[in-house]
């Protein structure tokens, strides 16, 4: 593969190196080259948010990120989260089938880390980039409230 470029980036705190082609999406590199299959593909065009990862601390749709662009960056996937930190989301019914869940929890944990956002935005606005077809969103919104208050979230 002569058209590949070697890149090095930080994945969930560890430095990784891999040769990627210009056409490869970060989503595919994570899933099919590195076996980080927690990140899901829902639509492949940046609408559903199932493939959300943090790129240098900001949630992005990994289906829209060319892999070579993460050279030197910090990528965090759902595998890098601590399960215990997600307890409020589990208890509030934020997850049903689980296909949107990896993306939902990446956005939810990001909101938890940036509570100042709630001065200008509602949780519903901040979560609008993560489509869920099962829950109707109430469980997700209550789960985020639980993360923010640290009390478990279930009403």
């Amino acid at each position: 593969m002569s058209d590949t470029v070697p890149i090095t980036f930080t994945l969930n705190g560890s430095s990784v190196s891999i040769a990627v082609s210009a056409r490869e999406r970060l989503l595919d590199v994570l899933r099919y080259r590195m076996a980080f299959t927690g990140t899901k593909e829902g639509c492949g065009e940046g609408e559903c948010g199932a493939c959300t990862v943090w790129l240098d601390g900001i949630p992005v749709n990994s289906c829209l990120v060319p892999a070579y662009q993460v050279r030197g960056s910090n990528v965090q996937t759902v595998e890098g989260l601590r399960v215990d930190d997600l307890d409020p989301l589990l208890r509030s019914g934020a997850t049903q089938c689980g296909a949107c869940t990896p993306g939902v929890v990446m956005t939810a944990r990001w909101i938890q880390d940036h509570p100042d956002l709630l001065r200008t935005h509602t949780i519903r606005e901040l979560m609008a980039g993560n489509l869920c077809r099962c829950t109707g969103y109430d469980g997700i919104v209550e789960g985020v409230e639980g993360l923010l208050s640290g009390d478990g979230g279930a009403s």
Partner: protein, 634 residues
Amino acid sequence: EIVIDPEPPLLDYRMLPSSQQIQYGDDNVFKHLRIEKGDVERALRDAPIVVEGVYETGAQEHVYLENQGMIAFTDDDVVVIKGSMQCPYYVLKAVTHALARDAEQVRIVQTPTGGGFGGKEEYPSTVALHAALLALKAGRPVKIVYDRGEDMAATTKRHPSWVRHRTGLDSAGRLLAQHIEVVIDGGAYVTLSPVVLSRAVIHAAGPYFCEHVRIDGRAVFSNAVPFGAFRGFGAPQTQFANERHMDVIARTLDVDPVTLRRINLIRDGQTTSTGQVIADGTDRVALMEQALELARYEEKQGHHRGFNAVHPTLRRGMGFATFYHGAGFTGSGEVMLRSVVYVAGRADGRVEVLSANIEMGQGTLTIFTQLAAERLGYDPDDIVIAEADTARVPNSGPTVASRTSMIVGRLVEQACDDLRDKLGLEQSVRGPAVRKAIIAWCKAHEGETPRGSAQYQKPREVTWDEESYRGDAYGTFAWATYVAEVEVDLRTYGARVLDFVAVQEIGKVLNETLARGQVQGGVVQGIGWAIMEECRWHAGAMTNHQLTNYIIPTSDDVPPIRVHFLENPYRHGAQGAKGLGELPIDGPAPAIVNAIAAATGADPRVIPVTPERLMTLSDARPVSTASTGGVNHE
């Protein structure tokens, strides 16, 4: 040389086909069903008032977040298929038939499935077969995963429907006659359309009593994409028509919509359109009144009158729907399925539940664990749910039709009791004593496990005649009233749901979090169907087969869904539960469109009520900025 001589496709199922376009019989109607009660023609002739209306619903795409996908490989002589599906035994039947193999030479394994909503009831058989054929030809494992574009373009969708009501009434609004014609677009393949049509016609007259009813249902061929199972399975279409029609009647007669329902809601001892006697003790009028109370229906109507009188651009309104949903397979369906469940003891004393019913987010694993643990007095951690692998689990039927908790869950309980019998225990024995008996049994029977089983038995009092479509269409119905508060912006004609109250009687709530999640998820899917989700077509193909322009609700498009349950245990359901999964999608569309009608004075009869559609219907216009000083503040 190939010569192509194109024939004109039949793309509008409502049109009469030309002779060239006939694919079945002499009219393309491949399923006709009739429900007949009393003498509808005489009753319509004699009725002082007759109100007519035509209502239509559009196709809807499931948009499960996980697309269709299958893996196939061979293991010695056995074709193994693993993937996303609701019905492992349906896939088994399709694959064994297509490959001309015995059931022992094919093994189907369901993997935890990323949403289904009916979209993984029949279509996965196609993907499975494609993967199997390729794996056999290649001699290598084959994985097929659809991308979103292919999934939306190729897989089944909710049937579009056309429903005409002719309703005879007295001047107070009492129903004297209901003549209902239902047509669904069958698409280019039969799929499950005949069964969808069956549920559609049975629910078409709504939860009301009327002495004279005729319902004619037709599924017609067209050259459209295939339509198939989708949560609600025909009932949302016909109940949209019926509940919209009730509000049209109310407006025509100048009767309050609440009064109209109060007069006509079915009372215990009265019969449905199929002659099924309802006598479950549920007070359906009180249920409706509780929903209206929780939604502050009257009070908000007062507020809205004031608001709408002065606001230059926004219009608010309240709307509601009263409805029902029969759980489990229709008519003789459950009898023909003859579902079987096993509950087996393991050498370590744990208990395993074996069924073909699958987890797709709705909670099968939790509910079966809960039911077995409570029945046997076990810690939930000591209950194991077997993987839905056709080589191991019995055929307990498909995971559809809101049947898993109510019907299969009851079999889980009975199989637990049978396990106790097999162990020689009294039925009162629970917990550690059961565990001890299992361990002892396993020691005494080297290499075997004690196994209880249960098979579905029709409740004696349930009778159904498939020929005449008379009798008990379902073992039981769940009852509901949903209330919507809607705001329409006359600058954009966009409608927004401000508040939503869902009250339902579902027998028994087995798990509050899961039950609430089913209702909230179903309501939001219904909000999408009502005002947002529109399949667009060109030459028979879906053109907006991507999430960029097929719009489903986000968290910011919907309000909190306020859910309230009433309980009235159903004696043949697990712990008294009735089916729940589908009920919540029957009510939102009519409730919301009734609210849009109340808000704007428009009379929408076709969903989705997109802004474009509402603009063409609505006489309401924003007050010009010139006449209000050019500024409006909310």
